[in-house]
């Protein structure tokens, strides 16, 4: 629609530099810090893909584990027969299709009904997969043995993150993005000006689901052994929602501010209090909720506002994806 502005170029260059820097992490350390980086990258990708749909629509989806598991299983089932790249593509298509079906059936639901429905979906897919495997194959576990190291996985996740950001930016510039902004503000208005609300939501849900499926596919080699409880782990869904909400969902980059500090915080807690992880984590979590009412983004903006004044905030608002 419009030309790329200077400001957008600056953001793109900064983003590329940040990704490039992250891609160099394996050179510095290929042990624990690399693993931690992979975990952070994993949740950055998941939370951002989640925000792609849930940010503008305000729907809280707990279906992340379902799409993630579909991706993981696609690779688990096909790794001996097909090349990995093709499997990643299939994972995207499969997860996207399921998201489409679910979207058509459920996006009429609002609020908490949608939340619980998506939670149920993940459990449903998991049980059906388990049942099919129990009855038609000889084992529930699948082995995924590849030559990928954690470095490769980190790079793939970073590349995926770049794709998601660019997609988010493109969507924002497109008619779909424009429609979503209107829907997000007021659905009734959107309907009155002739926007096919349901269709717009379904498309967005499919895009988001496909990205999460790809993430699952990328992570499969790291699991080595794929089984339903780990692939469709409902905790993934919860952690994604919580990290994204803590960061904030008003901007596509906001979840980043939730994921990075909280992955590191939780990691430190589990390293230093191995016998009291739950208790300390719970207390830390409650403290965060009370001290940061609008997520990290809210805090960041509060801190920025007095210093940089209105100009920066206005610029941010204008360029926000």
């Amino acid at each position: 629609m419009s030309a790329v502005t200077g400001n957008e170029w600056r953001i793109a260059i900064l983003g590329a530099l940040a990704l490039g820097a992250a891609a160099l992490i394996p050179l510095a350390d290929d042990g624990y810090y690399l693993s931690l980086s992979v975990n952070i990258a994993l949740y950055v990708v998941l939370c951002t893909a989640w925000t792609l749909f849930s940010g503008p629509t305000h729907y809280i989806s707990l279906a992340t584990a379902a799409f993630f598991g579909i991706g993981t299983y696609t690779v688990g089932l096909g790794i001996d027969a097909l090349p990995f790249a093709l499997l990643v593509a299939i994972a995207a298509v499969m997860a996207g299709l399921v998201a489409g079906l679910v979207g058509i059936a459920t996006l009429r639901l609002t609020g908490v009904y949608f939340v619980i429905f998506t939670l149920g979906l993940a459990e449903l897919v998991r049980q059906v997969v388990t049942w099919l495997q129990t009855n038609f194959t000889t084992s529930v576990g699948l082995y995924v043995f590849t030559d990928f190291t954690e470095t490769h996985i980190l790079w793939m996740l970073l590349a995926l993150a770049a794709v998601i950001y660019v997609t988010g930016w493109l969507i924002n510039r497109s008619r779909l993005g424009f429609a979503m902004r209107i829907i997000g503000n007021d659905e009734t208005v959107a309907r009155h000006v002739g926007i096919d609300v349901a269709r717009a939501k379904v498309i967005l849900f499919m895009i988001s689901g496909a990205f999460i499926g790809v993430t699952g596919a990328i992570m499969a080699p790291r699991f080595a052994y794929v089984e339903p409880p780990s692939a469709f782990n409902p905790l993934i869904s919860f952690q994604v929602v919580i990290m994204a909400l803590l960061g904030g969902t008003s901007r596509l980059w906001a979840p980043l501010l939730g994921v990075i500090p909280f992955t590191i915080l939780f990691d430190q807690v589990s390293a230093h209090f191995p016998n009291h992880t739950s208790l300390v984590m719970g207390i830390a979590f409650m403290a965060i909720v009370y001290l940061l009412p609008r997520g990290v983004v809210g805090l960041a903006r509060e801190l920025l506002r007095p210093k940089a004044g209105k100009r920066l905030v206005a610029a941010e608002e204008a360029t926000a994806p």
Partner: protein, 399 residues
């Protein structure tokens, strides 16, 4: 707040200087362990994994440490909780290997997590003596990761051995040829069921009822009632801890009239006898030990004394034995060199509380498969050649 299980203050001080980068020679052996303390598998690891390790560390340090090339070195244990998650487990192993730089790692709890962390443990060259991983893939894994050792057996051996035991009971006139088979729809349960059903059929049994149920099943009344309706003499459930308890309670209530009743994981837990009282008598289950062996008796007594809880009658002593192997291999290698220790495990014979252990192609081939509660003790009644099996008895009611 890493838990330092050190017996002597002096050793703790030495460890302190070492941590702060002192140039002194190493005086302690740092051993890392990562397993569930929370999450779905925490209930099992709290019985089998953590207490056995705590007991071993206390025993070793009580002896003054491990003999390494003529010098006694104390053991320092570093524990992490993997929250029953593969990602956490991988991160924990990385942390142990590259941040804590531990000398040895005690592999995690559970088949899935053992496999997920195996490539990493292999990458850093640690010996991987897996205990709580029962799968048919042991030979494949041993070939893939030559540093990995498998101690608890294979699922098909568990199933086949059970079929043979039941066949023996049938030929002894204890039971007829009708059997009901159910399983939990998860790794161990499915592998056992897939091996067990053909084995039972081959042994001349008629499977009159079969079904599977999901991992989170809470209610077992329908299964027990359907099984009861098929009126078998034997009931076999390849189950996990929660369902082992649930099925047995329901069977007792329904007064399931079977003469052989088998449930899977956790039958060997002391809590099983505690929860079921007299109904536990005669129940068959996965695992078993030679309860008459003095070493096992001694192990049970010390386990109670040191950890304040009873061990299970299956994997607890094996977990302990795997650590005895590690200790003896370190002493024989005379150094903390990981490859030297792996070589020792490959080639040596080890004197453990489970008897004499030799790894054949990285796998312990002689292991207990079926046990039975008899007079408050879970005796091994079938094995793949361990020796010391007692004769199984028919189950006589639930009271």
């Amino acid at each position: 707040m890493k838990r330092r299980t050190l017996m002597k203050v002096a050793a703790a001080l030495v460890a302190g200087t070492m941590l702060t980068g002192g140039a002194m020679a190493q005086e302690v052996i740092r051993i890392g362990a990562s397993a569930p303390k929370t999450g779905p598998l925490a209930g099992g690891s709290a019985v089998t994994y953590w207490p056995a390790i705590a007991l071993w560390v206390s025993d070793v340090n009580g002896r003054g440490g491990i003999d390494v090339g003529g010098k006694k070195m104390m053991v320092e244990l570093i524990e992490y909780d993997d929250r029953t998650s593969n990602e956490e487990a991988i991160k924990n192993i990385q942390r142990l290997a590259t941040v804590d730089k531990v000398d040895f790692i005690i592999p995690p709890y559970g088949t899935g997590i053992n496999l997920a962390t195996a490539p990493l443990i292999a990458k850093y060259g640690y010996p991987h003596i897996a205990v709580t991983a029962v799968t048919d893939g042991v030979d494949e894994f041993a070939a893939r990761w030559p540093n990995s050792f498998w101690t608890l057996g294979t699922s098909s051996a568990f199933a086949v051995s059970l079929a043979e035991l039941l066949k023996g009971m049938r030929e002894g006139g204890l039971i007829n040829d009708k059997v009901a088979v159910v399983n939990v729809a998860d790794a161990f349960g499915i592998e056992l069921a897939n091996a067990g059903k053909p084995a039972l059929a081959e042994a001349g049994f008629d499977i009159v009822y079969e079904s599977s149920y999901p991992l989170t099943q809470q209610d077992f009344a329908p299964i027990i009632q359907a099984a009861k309706a098929a009126s078998p003499d034997s009931f076999v459930a390849f189950s996990y801890p929660g369902d082992t308890f649930g099925l047995t309670k329901e069977a007792a209530i329904a007064d399931l009239p079977v003469k052989a009743y088998y449930v899977g994981v956790a039958t060997a837990f002391p809590a099983f006898a505690g929860a079921n009282g007299p109904a536990a008598e005669g129940v068959l289950g996965a695992g078993g030990v030679n309860a008459n062996s003095d070493k096992i008796k001694d192990f049970i007594t010390r386990h109670n004394e040191v950890t304040g809880q009873a061990p299970d009658y299956w994997a607890s002593p094996v977990q302990y034995a795997s650590l005895e192997v590690l200790e003896q291999a370190i002493t024989r290698a005379g150094s903390l060199d990981k490859q030297a220790v792996i070589d020792q495990i490959h080639n040596g014979t080890f004197d453990t509380i489970m008897g004499e252990w030799t790894f054949d192609g990285n796998v312990i081939r002689k292991f207990w498969t079926v046990g039975q509660w008899q007079g408050g003790v879970f005796n091994g009644v079938a094995s793949t050649g361990v020796g010391g099996e007692v004769t199984p008895v028919a189950k006589s009611g639930w009271k």
